[in-house]
Amino acid sequence: MTTHTDDTKSQDLAAEVPVRLNWSQHAPEVYKAMIRLETAAKRGLDPALYELVKIRASQINHCAFCLDMHTKDALAAGESVERIVQLAAWEESRHFYTEKELAAIELTEAVTVLTDGFVPDEVYAKAAEHFDEPELAQLIAAITTINAWNRFGVTCRMTPGHYTPGGHA
């Protein structure tokens, strides 16, 4: 039996790796705080832009569960397959995105890869050109939030492939 969305080659596929830890059951109040953070962070942000941010951060952090969720949600909300596929190489496919989206994606990368340096002035300044101050604060909060989901997803090895669009809280 396969549980994948795409089961055309099921007999050739590797076995699904089990989840390491059902963290939300073991720490329900932590999960509740995460939902609260998510709800607060996305206020005032364009939902289509937020999906791009979530997909890009999840790519960089290698969160399979989050990619499964947010690519499906983006597609269900009318995002194009092309823009989702090209996102991993956005620097070479800038003409698929608006300048505002590009500024947000660039900020997403800088805020996600803190361990390699700081958030450069150039990247921050470009974002500040396209987002007014309250919106920029929300964007930073949103990038922070997807980074948090990515950490739970990767560490607990949450299993991708079972998400149905619109299925999260």
Partner: protein, 148 residues
């Protein structure tokens, strides 16, 4: 240097505070919590968070040698016990996700020292400090103003 916004939505701040508080409470080990938060803040280069958590660690009686050598904990075996070392290894793996996954070795090392409930809260705490690090570094919030 570009001036950066100091805005932080009140509800975002409260939610992340709730996350930190719940995680810290569930872990039930304030000293370990500070060591973890300092190590993540070192890796993420968060000056504000380092200032805050070094102050809190000192307030919890952590000695200067353990604070000073934390960035090189792997080479300072006598200063951190097995449980602390497992938590620090997990902190590093979870903080540097962009370089790879959280390896089975690191995860199982932590699972050996922490029961499922504790581990879920430890993972929550590492996630929470990573969140604060992002909010503070991105807005370049100045260190030095923290009072316990």
């Amino acid at each position: 240097m570009t001036a950066r916004t100091q805005l932080l939505d009140r509800e975002v701040g409260k939610a992340l505070s709730a996350l930190s508080a719940a995680a810290k409470k569930g872990l039930g080990d304030p000293v370990l919590a500070e060591l973890v938060m300092i190590r993540a803040s070192q890796l993420n280069h968060c000056a504000f968070c380092l200032d805050m958590h070094l102050t809190l660690a000192r307030g919890n009686g952590v000695d200067e040698e353990r604070l000073g050598l934390l960035a090189a904990w792997e080479e300072a075996e006598d200063l951190y016990d097995g449980r602390e070392r497992a938590a620090l290894a997990l902190t590093e793996a979870m903080t540097v996700l962009t370089d790879g996954f959280v390896s089975d070795e690191v995860y199982e090392g932590a699972a050996k020292h922490f029961a499922d409930g504790e581990l879920a809260h430890l993972i929550g705490l590492i996630t929470a400090i990573n969140g604060w690090n992002r909010l503070m570094v991105s807005r370049r919030v100045a260190p030095g103003g923290y009072t316990p």
